[in-house]
């Protein structure tokens, strides 16, 4: 077990390192922060001084090594804009983002999974077709369009909810719904097809032939098996808790990580962008590890894979 964990961890670290490296080089080769921060008509001396101050005059690989060296000590650089530590700036925004992504995640699970199961159990019924139609709409309509529609209806027309900002407790509702609906649609579809696949398996018929009530066949035999493929997509959704709301946060002017990322990118605030992407990569990788363990827990075939079966 220890060896397995160690291997997993090593792969995770390698993944994160590759993300850091890739982002670092892309960012450093794609534009000059000095121009953005100081504006293009700043005196050449000021630009030169800025570059020296941030180490931008040194070769890229040297900058990268320095960044790595400091990052290993927990120093992820400072924001070029207001000089505060980049990671601190980012972490401050985390609660705000989680305040909409976590409820949205719950919404996805609570709507998507039951809807998918129901649709599968009543295949080709009116309810199934309706669910699938809504689901197709749910993930073909881009989230900013959905957001704008919701704003139009609930803020502009009905005036029930604020259209943007974060000052009122009700401000979170529209962002949460926007995120949740799209995710629920995807999840419903996945759950439905996983369930249909399982319901066609011989052991389902065998369980019925045994005399088990249909309800028990579904709960005890179909659901545990359908949970296995569904885990993949749920795990992916966990991975997007930090950075899955970029568009929605921008539309609703929600002060989360997503908006910070957008402004940091347009300002070439390198350290902040790096810090965000590092955080995103870490969440993704962690979510993946969790999914792997959940797989092992759900599926005994993976738990004790042997040489059985040729």
């Amino acid at each position: 077990m220890l060896r397995y964990l160690a291997g997993r961890l090593l792969r995770a670290i390698l993944t994160i390192f590759l993300v850091i490296a890739f982002v670092f080089f892309v960012l450093h080769l794609s534009g000059d922060p000095a121009m953005m921060i100081l504006s293009a008509d700043a005196p050449p001396e000021a630009i030169k001084a800025f570059r020296e101050a941030w180490g931008l005059d040194r070769p890229v690989w040297e900058q990268f090594l320095a960044y790595l060296f400091h990052a290993l000590q927990g120093d992820f650089g400072n924001s070029m804009r207001d000089g505060r530590p980049a990671m601190q700036l980012v972490l401050e925004r985390v609660p705000s983002t989680l305040a909409i992504t976590v409820p949205a995640f719950a919404l996805k699970l609570l709507i998507g999974i039951p809807a998918g199961i129901y649709a599968a159990l009543h295949r080709n019924s009116l309810a199934d077709r309706l669910t699938m139609m809504i689901s197709v709409a749910g993930f073909t309509v881009p989230s900013f369009v959905l957001a704008l529609v919701l704003v139009l209806v609930f803020s502009v027309q009905l005036g029930w909810l604020p259209s943007a900002g974060s000052d009122k407790p009700t401000s979170a509702i529209l962002p949460i719904v926007t995120l949740g609906v799209a995710g629920a649609a995807i999840l419903a579809r996945f759950t439905r097809s996983a369930m249909l696949e399982v319901l066609g398996q011989p052991y389902i018929r065998a369980a019925s032939a045994k005399g088990l009530q249909w309800r028990k066949v579904v709960v005890e035999h179909a659901l545990p098996n359908a949970a296995i493929p569904t885990t993949t997509i749920v795990g992916f959704m966990v991975g997007t808790l930090i950075a899955g709301a970029v568009v929605v946060e921008s539309v609703f002017a929600w002060p989360g990580i997503g908006r910070l990322l957008v402004s940091a990118v347009s300002n070439r605030d390198l350290a902040v962008v790096q810090a965000i992407l590092l955080l995103v990569a870490t969440t993704m990788v962690t979510a993946n590890i969790i999914v792997d363990f959940v797989y092992g827990w759900l599926d005994p075939r993976l738990r004790r894979g042997g040489t059985r079966g040729r």
Binding site: P202, A207, A209, K210, G211, L212, Q213, P300, R301, R304
Partner: protein
């Protein structure tokens, strides 16, 4: 699409009946239909009487009490007929709770006894195994143990050995015979293999395209088959001993279920066909007290 065209079949208490036919002839569907296992899109007509009680059209709750307890089934692919995520012990326990109301220690003791009954060595350890940790033959033994949990009057074995190797097939058939002798349970053995049926049943129904074409004691079928399809099947099978002879295949292919000929379904492939065969499907008629044939030329 119509899969069955009026199946008349009787299984007596303790009898072993064989059901033989090629893929798509309806030999499995017959039993799934009888137990209401075909799903909501299938329409089943006629009557299925179990000790005088009609099962067709009865509420599902009632059928659930018949399944497993009066009529148990085992299937072709044992390894995928067991739920891959539950331990053997749990799946056996489920049947024992359902049919015998056993729980906890009593259920475990009985599960162990059942595994012993189907000759699985080291039953205690096997209860904690998952289906993928057992071979196909072992899984079929578990399926049989699970069927025995309900102490059924009739076991329907749907191609129980088709997915298994020859020597394992022999073991499973031996086991089924042994259990039947001990328990007096009736057996319906569904197979495409006349040999399998011959060794293990007393009477056989030969099915073709959704109908029973011949129904006779096993010796009659081999020694004096009456239907041209039964004759054709026997002529197409090589022997393992004696002089080798050229096989006589049945010409043509089985008709599609949605495209059956108007008259006898076998007529297009039959070498004894006459015009009258194409008029209407032949009715089963008694040749002898225990020998029924659906052929006007037999």
């Amino acid at each position: 699409m119509r899969a069955l065209h009026g199946i008349d079949l009787e299984v007596r208490r303790g009898e072993a009946l064989g059901l033989v036919g090629e893929s798509g002839c309806g030999k499995s569907v017959t039993w799934l239909a009888a137990l209401g296992l075909l799903g909501s899109r299938a329409r089943v007509g006629g009557a299925v009487r179990l000790e005088g009680r009609d099962l067709v059209g009865t509420p599902v709750a009632e059928l659930e009490r018949v399944r497993g307890r009066h009529i148990a089934m085992i299937f072709q692919d044992p390894s995928s007929s067991l739920n891959p995520v539950h331990r053997i012990g749990r799946q056996l326990g489920e049947a024992l709770k359902l049919h015998r109301g056993l729980d906890g220690g009593a259920a475990e003791a009985e599960a162990r006894r059942l595994l012993d009954r189907v000759h699985i060595a080291d039953a205690q350890r096997r209860l904690g195994d998952y289906p993928h940790e057992l071979s196909g033959g072992m899984n079929q033994r578990v399926m049989i143990a699970m069927a025995l949990a309900g102490q059924p009057d009739l076991l329907v074995a749907d191609e129980p050995t088709t997915a298994l190797d020859a020597t394992v097939q022999a073991q499973i058939l031996e086991l089924l015979g042994e259990i039947r002798r001990d328990s007096g349970m009736a057996l319906v053995l569904i197979s495409h293999d006349l040999g399998v049926v011959a060794e293990n049943t007393d009477r056989v129904c030969v099915m073709y395209a959704g109908r029973i074409v011949e129904d006779a004691p096993i010796d009659t079928v081999f020694e004096a088959p009456a239907h041209p399809y039964t004759k054709g099947l026997l002529a197409a099978l090589p022997e393992l001993d004696g002089a080798r002879r050229v096989l006589t295949p049945i010409a043509g292919v089985v008709p599609e279920p949605w495209n059956l000929p108007k008259g006898c379904s076998f007529a297009p492939r039959c070498d004894r066909r006459v015009d009258a065969c194409e008029a209407a499907p032949p009715l089963p008629t008694l040749r002898e007290a225990d020998h029924r044939v659906a052929c006007i030329r037999a």
